[in-house]
C-alpha cells in the first residue's frame, strides 16, 4: 500500500461505498457523454471523410472503424469482467461484483457487433459471409462465454451467490482470451494478421490509423457509460432496502 499515494487509496475506498459511487457517477456521466460524442464525431469524420480509400478494397474497408474497435472491446471487456470478478471474489467488494456483471451484456453486444460487421465485410472481400477460421470461431466462442455468464447470473436467485458463480466462470473463460488474440498468428488463416498492435511500425497509414484509434477510445467511453448506467440500476436494485436509497427516493418526490 505504501507504493500508492494516499489520495488514490482514499479515492478507491470511497468508491467502494455504494452511496458515494452512485453520487459520483451521476456527476461523472455528462462529462463521459460529451467526451464520447466528441471522439465519435472526430473519429467518424476522419474515418469516413478524411481518410483515403484503400488501394485494394476501395471504400468498403471503412467498416474497419466499427469492426476493429468492437473486436478490441470484446476482449478488453472480458478481461475487465474477469478482473473485477476476481476482486469481488477475493475481497467481497460489492461494487466489483456489480461492475463485473454489468460489463457482461455490453461485452456480449460488442462481440456480436464485431461478428456481424466482420461478416458484412467478409462478403465483398472474401466472397463469403462466414468461414470456420480460427479467429472467427474463437470470437464466436467468446460470445457463448458471455452468454453463459449472463445466463448463469440470471439462473441463480441470490445475487451475491450469483456474482461469485459468475466470477469463477469468467476466470475459467479467461484461457480463451490469448487464444483469440494470437489465433491469427498461430494459425495461418483467412482472417488477416494484426496491422496495428505490432511491435514495430503499424502497417496501416497514419491517416487511417488516427481515426481508428479515436474510435477505439470513443468505444471505451461508450463502454464506461453503458456499464456505469447498468451498474447504477443494479446497485439501486440490490440496495433497495438500504437507508440511502430510501432517503434519495423520498427526496426526489
Amino acid at each position: 500500500m505504501f507504493l500508492i499515494p494516499d489520495p488514490v487509496v482514499r479515492f478507491f475506498h470511497r468508491m467502494a461505498s455504494p452511496p458515494h459511487f452512485y453520487a459520483f457517477t451521476e456527476r461523472l456521466m455528462p462529462w463521459l457523454v460529451v467526451i464520447f460524442l466528441l471522439l465519435t464525431a472526430a473519429g467518424l469524420y476522419g474515418g469516413l471523410y478524411l481518410a483515403p480509400a484503400d488501394y485494394q478494397q476501395g471504400d468498403s474497408y471503412r467498416i474497419i472503424y466499427i469492426h476493429v474497435p468492437s473486436a478490441w472491446m470484446s476482449l478488453f471487456i472480458y478481461v475487465v469482467m474477469a478482473v473485477s470478478g476476481a476482486i469481488g471474489l477475493v475481497w467481497r467488494i460489492k461494487l466489483a461484483e456489480i461492475v463485473a456483471i454489468s460489463s457482461a451484456p455490453v461485452g456480449a453486444s460488442f462481440t456480436f457487433i464485431a461478428l456481424v460487421t466482420g461478416s458484412l465485410w467478409g462478403k465483398p472481400m472474401w466472397g463469403t459471409w462466414w468461414v470456420w477460421d480460427a479467429r472467427l470461431t474463437s470470437e464466436l466462442i467468446l460470445l457463448f462465454l458471455y452468454l453463459g455468464v449472463i445466463g448463469l447470473y440470471g439462473a441463480i436467485d441470490d445475487k451475491r451467490t450469483a456474482s461469485r458463480a459468475v466470477a469463477i466462470l469468467a476466470l475459467v473463460g479467461v484461457v480463451n482470451i490469448p487464444i483469440i488474440h494470437y489465433s491469427v498468428e498461430w494459425w495461418n488463416t483467412l482472417h488477416q494478421g494484426p496491422t496495428v498492435t505490432k511491435m514495430d511500425k503499424p502497417s496501416i497509414h497514419v491517416s487511417m490509423l488516427i481515426p481508428l484509434l479515436l474510435m477505439a477510445v470513443a468505444f471505451k467511453f461508450y463502454y464506461l457509460i453503458a456499464m456505469l448506467q447498468r451498474a447504477r440500476t443494479e446497485l439501486l436494485l440490490r440496495e433497495r432496502n438500504a437507508q440511502w436509497v430510501k432517503v434519495m427516493i423520498s427526496e426526489s418526490k
Binding site: L89, T137, I141, F144, L145, L147, G148, G151, L152, A155, I156, T161, R164, A165, I168, L169, L171, V172, G173, N176, I179
Partner: protein, 224 residues
Amino acid sequence: MSLSRAFFAVIRRDLVLALRRRSEIANPLLFFILVITLFPLGIGAQPHLLQAIAPGIIWVSALLAAMLSLDSLFRSDFDDGSLEQILLSPHPTSVLVLAKIIAHWLVTGLPLLVVAPLLAVFLGMPNHALGILLLTLLLGTPVLSLIGAIGVALTVGLRRGGMILSLLVLPLYVPVLIFAGNAVQMAGSGLPVDAQINILISILLMALVLAPLPVASALKMSIN
C-alpha cells in the same frame, strides 16, 4: 486419515456406488452408441462421406455423452448431504474433488474407449487411425470430465441446471474437440500427429492441475 487414504477412499466409494447403480455406466454408453448410429441414417450411408466425417462424429458424440453424464457427478451427493461432509473434511477440497472426478471418468469416460473402435469400424474409418482415435479419447475424455466438473459445481444448487450447464461447458470443450478431431483426421490421411497429441497432453496436464481449484470454490459457493 491421511490425504492419500482419503483420496482413494473417495474413489472407491464412488466406484462402489456406481457399480450398485449400473444405469449410470450404461446410460452415457448407450447414448454414445445411439447418436453415432443416427448419423448414417440421417445423412445416408455413403461410405466415402461417412469415412470423411467419422472422426468428427465420434468426437462430437463423445462430447455430448460426457456432458449428459455430468449431472451424476455431484447430484446424489448434493441431495443426500455427503458433499457437505467432503467440504467439511480437514483435507483440501480440491484434492477430494479430483478423486470424485477421476472416479466419474472411470465410470463414464473409460467405457467410451472400449466401444469407440467398434463404432469407428462401423463408420469405415481406416485401421491405422484407430490407435490415434483411442489415444485422443484417452487424453481428451478426462479433460471433458475435469472441465465439466466446473460447470456442474456451479449449477448443482439450481433446480433446472441442465440447459445452463450446456451453455457453460460446451464452449470450453471446443479446444479439445478441435485438436482431437484434427489429430484423428490427419492420422486417417497418414500424416504425423505429434503436434496435436502434444497439445492434448498439455491441455490434460493443465486441466488436472488447475480445474479442481475452481470446482472446489464453486462447490463451496453452491452449498453455502
